[in-house]
Amino acid sequence: MEVFLNLVISGIMVGSIYALVALGWVLIYKCSGVLNLAMGELTLIGAYVCLSLYTWFVRPIGQPTLAFLLALAGTLVIGACLGLLTERFFLRRMIGEPVLSVIMVTVGLSFFFKGVVEFIWGTDTRVFTPEVFSKKPIPLMGNIYLDSVYLWSFVASIILLIVFVSFFKYTRWGLAMQATADDEMAALSLGVSAKFVYALAWAIAFMAAGVGGTLLGNVNGINISVGYLGLLVLPAVVLGGLNSVPGAIVGGIIIGVLQNLADGYLSQFTPGGVKEVAPLAFMVILLLFKPYGLWGWERIERV
């Protein structure tokens, strides 16, 4: 039982990181109908940018936590800028083209970004030095312990999720994004700039993915495989129903838990890789029963 609880709890913690990345993915899909296949590379860029900022800040500042928070803030700002630039230079010209062509552009972008990352930062695994979060486990209750890395990642993800969701729900541009997702033409007729909405979606996706990559990099170290997050996000968003923001968040957390359970209980029977396969297998099975995912939009039909 304790093992189970331990796995579930740390699964929820990692899942919250997936949730963050999934949210970024869903925003782009909702607003512009584009499946962003470069999401993994966005997390990669974010992780490396944050690492560089951190190494840069930590010596003069001295205090690792403060330096990390600053680096994280910097990652958000740089992420937003990169998002706006990517939209402006690669995707703006694709407005009005068939969705499939746009998706192919995101494939191209993923190779491009990966190349840029390898060119700038190389391919070795890097870690945050000095360590930001101590590895000392925090006792939760009874025999259940939690690494503080996980706990802080969880806190950071939840805070960002709340910020993004509130932006979406209560601000003028957040509402404009939702409106564009619902009916682009009608939104346009009210003076909402579809171009800016797309740009905003990319900026938020970059920010969310960047922080997600950073947090995961804190847990495992940073190398090209952080980009694997991009693949994990797919089952998370499919589970949530592709265009549902709450669905993406819950989906991300479910995938995190599932992964941990598969790892804890099944890996002893297999030569390895269960952790990676389980979410995808689960996605396929779920889709057999719920083709719209758990919270997907079916069009509202009044009877």
């Binding site: 509402l175 997702a181 939104a187």
Partner: protein
């Protein structure tokens, strides 16, 4: 035409979709300041296309004004983007009650105020819209996709009203609504025009109703304006009485044209 200064003028415009499909073949229309003008015509005549040409939404459907000019408050607008045209105060209410179905009715209205800032101003305008549409206030937290047809129509009109329009382009507000509701909505439209002094270009299939609320009307057929005049004159026009209002005895006509008219009349009266 009335003596008032026109706020909107279409000079002989020609519109093509996808650079090849010629839909408007020289349309000239004027909307005077503060007035309602009706644009009538059969299905496919090009009424919605005319509105989209004015609001700039045409570009969104790969259409273009290929000839002529559209002038709004003395400025040429036919080459501008929808966004810029909206900033100048022209708002089109697209046919078919296009609410943002996953937002609540109030959120829909707030999106309408998108260009008009946040805070106090927005709240004041919300109250103003609610004073015209008390029903929307009652149901403000209802998801728009689940609202009734009448509520949705009120929502899209209210939404455009939130933007403090200088000109409203209203496309078939009566479509698919019960007669009582249609009456209610048209009363509100008239009230809006009187109290807020908003000029309205109204596209309507319900000719009788359109001619009561609009003092002046244009009739369109096949991408051309075939008739225009003050509503009381048009109402007495034999052709209008015949195939748009259905007031004369069709049986006495025998030409091929009348057969076509009969068909058209059936469409108009459903």
């Amino acid at each position: 035409m009335s003596s008032k200064e026109p706020i909107l003028q279409l000079h002989n415009i020609e519109v093509k979709y996808h650079e090849v499909i010629l839909v408007l073949k020289g349309v000239s229309i004027q909307v005077p300041e503060g007035e309602i003008v009706a644009l009538l015509g059969a299905n496919g005549a090009g009424k919605s296309t005319t509105l989209k040409a004015i609001s700039g939404l045409l570009k969104h459907e790969d259409g273009r004004v290929t000839d002529g000019a559209i002038e709004f408050m003395g400025e040429q607008i036919h080459r501008k983007d929808a966004e810029e045209i909206a900033k100048r105060g022209i708002f089109q209410i697209i046919e078919g009650r296009r609410v943002f179905e996953h937002l609540t009715l109030e959120e829909n209205l707030r999106v309408g105020g998108h260009l008009r800032g946040n805070g106090r101003q927005l709240r004041d305008r919300l109250e103003m819209v609610y004073s015209y549409f008390p029903r929307l206030k009652e149901k403000r937290n209802l998801t728009a996709g689940f609202a009734s047809g009448g509520e949705q129509q009120m929502c899209v009109i209210g939404r455009a009203l939130m933007a403090s329009p200088r000109l409203m382009l209203l496309d078939e507000p009566s479509m698919g609504l019960a007669p009582l509701l249609i009456k209610e909505i048209f009363e509100i439209i008239q009230k809006l025009n009187k109290e807020e002094r908003i000029p309205i270009l109204l596209v309507e299939q319900n000719v009788k109703l359109a001619l009561t609320v609009a003092p002046y009307a244009y009739v369109m057929e096949n991408g051309r304006i075939v008739m225009d005049g003050p509503s009381d004159v048009l109402r007495e026009n034999p052709d209008i009485r015949d195939f748009y209002l259905g007031l004369t005895d069709l049986g006495t006509r025998k030409s091929f044209r009348s057969v076509k008219h009969y068909k058209r009349r059936k469409r108009w009266l459903t």
